[in-house]
């Protein structure tokens, strides 16, 4: 349930004020109907308001209608930061990790106060730097309910209740409480003598502790880069055809089987490209341009991809050999999990805006389209891991402390931060290329089955859009144009017709937005509205959002049974993994219609057509 402090701005916008949590720099806004808001898990509100505490955040921390809890940042989250004074890729500064009880005393500029009091006022607190005290205002203040903790005592009578993962300063550096043994020294502060000294830990008892615990995050730098947010570089791609249901229905099995053979998917799906190292470097720096030069794309494809399929500034020398190895073996593969390719139909009754549908190439009754959802595969993850490790080793140098290892970071303007940014662009470009290569195979497959060229089959790209990325984009802040670093974590760019980046092709319609629902219930094509510019940093939802865990779905359905049930409903599925298929059942997801409706009511995106599944290839 949403917190009681939430206020209704209108039917689809909800706000948590800065007074909700100490340290919030901006309010948090959630785009949802009341029903969807009530369906969101509690962690969403906590994670979103944590994002609102991050340095340099502009206007609001947003969550779209498909929001659910993520790692640090909520899925469906959108936040923009000042690139000079703000941060990149926050993922948040540490959440329910290491905390101390509310009664714990904290040394401030104005004497000792219980940590609980910081809920009301944000005051500079003492920190230890080279054995000297300095006072710093916390960047974030956190409060959580915990059910277990330790009560510890030292030889000279200091007592504190803290969770097992709370770090204490020992003679060999910071150590988690659970790993500190009796007899070990921990550093404590003598208020009277105003000096730090080592004290022996004499008691440590595990206790039941059903109460709130608290923690701070102290900013040591104003701008840093973390990398947990853009590791998979997922996105959606939608491809047109001039075929209709009548043409495709009799051949759906042959078509799905052909695509299943052509597009490597799932565990053991191998790349068929056999690239050389210079070729892979080109992919990372030139994105889909490389495909088009190598006959895996049409010239006009480019103008129908976010950033024309290539973000500039990628530098392949910032990529490790290990990431390269994963790139070689996986480029052009679909992957598994929620990644798929799907043959869909646009029924007449599901077209909500005939004009725009026509402009986007949907002109016939029951027209067939193909949707692809995938990312940069193991490559992007390796880039993430490499820099996570680098950041872990340099955080000390920059005096940054994050309680969650996945939030390891470095200053954006530092060499490490810049190197990561260049590597991240490579991963995004590789993701665009991956979807382009897969589209090339889809064109080939249709061509084989219908014995016509893909050109004759009208297989034009409708659009390709990222939904897991950090990018520099321009927005008006207090009436002035400003370049901001926009983070979309499970959210899609949704530019209205007014944005100059769109070019002539989408100047009238607005940017196409592709929303993947579930393989049973269907998906959507939307267009962005100008209102998104002011209200959501040009962003909207990205999908339905899971409501059921994979573990539970696995127990609830059997892949084989689901496959035959779907076939009876007219959806032919071919999957590498049967348990994997069961986890993607329609009922494991929220109702995508409601999500799309909420964003439409808010005026952010406009539904053009709902697409129904006919055939699906899954990893």
């Amino acid at each position: 349930m949403p917190p009681k402090e939430i206020t209704k701005i209108n039917d689809t916008v909800w706000e948590l004020p800065v007074s909700y949590k100490a340290g919030m720099k901006v309010p948090a806004r959630i785009f949802a109907t009341e029903e969807l808001l009530n369906q969101m898990d509690d962690a969403v509100f906590n994670q979103l308001t944590n994002v609102a505490c991050l340095p340099g955040i502009q206007k609001y921390a947003y969550c779209m209608a498909d929001g659910h809890s993520g790692y640090g940042f909520p899925i469906g989250g959108v936040a923009a930061f000042d690139p000079e004074t703000g941060i990149i890729s926050p993922g948040g500064i540490g959440y329910d990790i290491n905390c101390i009880s509310g009664k714990s005393k904290i040394l401030t500029q104005n004497g000792v106060k219980a940590i609980k009091k910081f809920e009301e006022e944000n005051e500079a607190v003492a920190t230890l730097t080279k054995n000297k005290i300095t006072f710093t205002k916390p960047a974030a203040f956190m409060k959580f309910r915990k059910s277990s903790a330790f009560r510890v005592e030292t030889e000279t009578g200091n007592k504190i209740i803290a969770t097992g993962d709370h770090p204490f300063l020992t003679k060999i550096g910071m150590k988690k409480l659970e790993k500190i043994r009796l007899g070990e020294f921990v550093k404590v502060y003598d208020e009277d003598k105003e000096k730090f000294y080592y004290d022996t830990l004499t008691k440590k008892a595990s206790i039941d502790f059903d109460d709130f615990v608290y923690d701070f995050n102290l900013p040591k730098t104003h701008n840093f880069i973390a990398n947990n947010i853009v590791v998979s570089n997922c996105g959606m791609r939608l491809i047109n055809t001039n075929l209709t249901l009548k043409d495709v229905q009799p051949k759906i099995k042959e078509l799905v089987d052909t695509l299943y053979k052509l597009v490597p998917a799932g565990v053991g799906g191998k790349s068929t490209l056999h690239l050389t190292k210079p070729q892979l470097n080109e992919v990372m720096e030139n994105g889909v341009n490389w495909c088009i030069e190598n006959n895996m794309g049409w010239k006009q494809d480019k103008e129908r991809i976010e950033e024309s399929g290539c973000i500039s500034g990628g530098d392949s020398s910032k990529i490790s050999e290990r990431a390269m190895s994963r790139g070689f073996s996986q480029l052009g593969t679909l992957g598994s999990g929620n990644h798929y390719l799907e043959i869909q139909v646009a029924h007449d009754e599901n077209i909500f805006d005939t004009e725009i549908a026509k402009k986007l190439g949907i002109t016939q009754k029951d027209q067939i389209l193909v949707m692809v959802h995938c990312g940069s595969r193991g490559f992007g993850h390796q880039v993430g891991t490499d820099y996570l490790e680098l950041f872990e080793s340099v955080m000390r140098k920059y005096s940054i402390h994050v309680p969650d290892r996945e939030l390891a970071c470095a200053p954006f303007q530092s060499k490490e931060g810049q190197d990561y940014f260049k590597a991240m662009v490579c991963a995004a470009n590789l993701a665009f290329t991956n979807r382009q290569v897969i589209m090339h195979k889809i064109r080939e497959g249709f061509s084989q089955v219908f014995k016509q060229s893909a050109e004759n089959l009208g297989m034009e790209l409708v659009y390709d859009v990222c939904h897991n990325i950090a990018k520099l984009e321009e927005y008006k802040i207090d009436g002035k144009k400003k370049t901001l670093l926009v983070h979309r974590k499970g959210a899609t760019r949704a530019f209205g017709p007014g944005r100059k980046e769109l070019g002539s092709r989408f100047k009238e319609t607005g940017q196409p937005v592709i929303i993947g629902g579930s393989m049973e219930t269907g998906s959507y094509l939307l267009v962005g509205q100008d209102k998104s510019d002011d209200e959501t940093f040009g962003s909207t939802c990205h999908g339905a959002g899971r409501t059921m865990s994979r573990a539970q779905a696995k127990r609830t359905w059997r892949g084989e049974k689901l496959q035959s049930d779907m076939e009876k409903k007219g959806i032919y599925v071919k999957a590498v993994s049967m348990p994997g298929l069961a986890e993607e059942a329609g009922d494991a997801y929220k109702n995508v219609d409601h999500v799309v409706d909420a964003m439409a009511k808010a005026g952010i995106t406009k539904p053009v057509v709902a697409l129904k599944p006919l055939g699906n290839v899954k990893g």
């Binding site: 799932g266 996945e406 865990s549």
Partner: protein, 168 residues
């Protein structure tokens, strides 16, 4: 050698389980082992079991992994990441693992791991496959030695436990 921990023996009991309440879009596993080699072995099996039905994989060839790390946490993360790397680049999955872990010595203060994976190349027509794991995450990642009191006895049993979230 004094700091040598014996090689793990395959145990029939399943020492890993898929747990709920940590992640809805990914897999979270709790893994146990009576010593470090056993914990690492069980962790590798947990990871592999997410991707393939273990019984369908035959120990036809082997791959070696040799690693060192400053902490046990890092050693486990790197080891699982390596198992995944071998899957991604050599298309190889294993259902049997032999592991040796050396504790830090006086001179070399790192943990050392030698592992042999017994398995075969993935064949989509033969193996019963699960979901492809994209990455090992640090989300809720933990490795701990725990003391468990035995029922009706004052004896305390030590056991290693780990929690690992896999990104699928």
């Amino acid at each position: 050698m004094e700091n040598q921990i014996p090689i793990s023996k395959a145990s029939k009991k399943i020492n890993y389980k898929l747990i709920e309440g940590i992640t809805s879009a990914d897999y979270a596993y709790d893994i146990t082992g009576k010593n470090l080699p056993e914990l690492f072995e069980n962790a590798a099996l947990a990871l592999t079991s997410a991707m393939v039905k273990l019984e369908t994989v035959k120990p036809k060839t082997r791959k070696n992994i040799n690693l060192s790390a400053a902490t046990v946490d890092k050693l486990l993360y790197d080891f699982l990441d390596e198992v995944l790397f071998i899957k991604d680049t050599a298309n190889f999955l294993s259902a049997k693992v032999k592991i040796e872990v050396k504790n830090p010595g006086l001179k070399d203060k790192t943990y050392k791991l030698n592992a042999i994976l017994f398995g075969e190349e993935i064949d989509q027509s033969k193996h019963k496959l699960g979901n492809d794991v994209k990455a090992i995450t640090y989300h809720n990642f933990s490795v701990k030695e725990e003391e468990i009191k035995e029922k009706n006895s004052k004896k305390v049993k030590k056991s290693w436990v780990a929690r690992v979230v896999l990104d699928v």
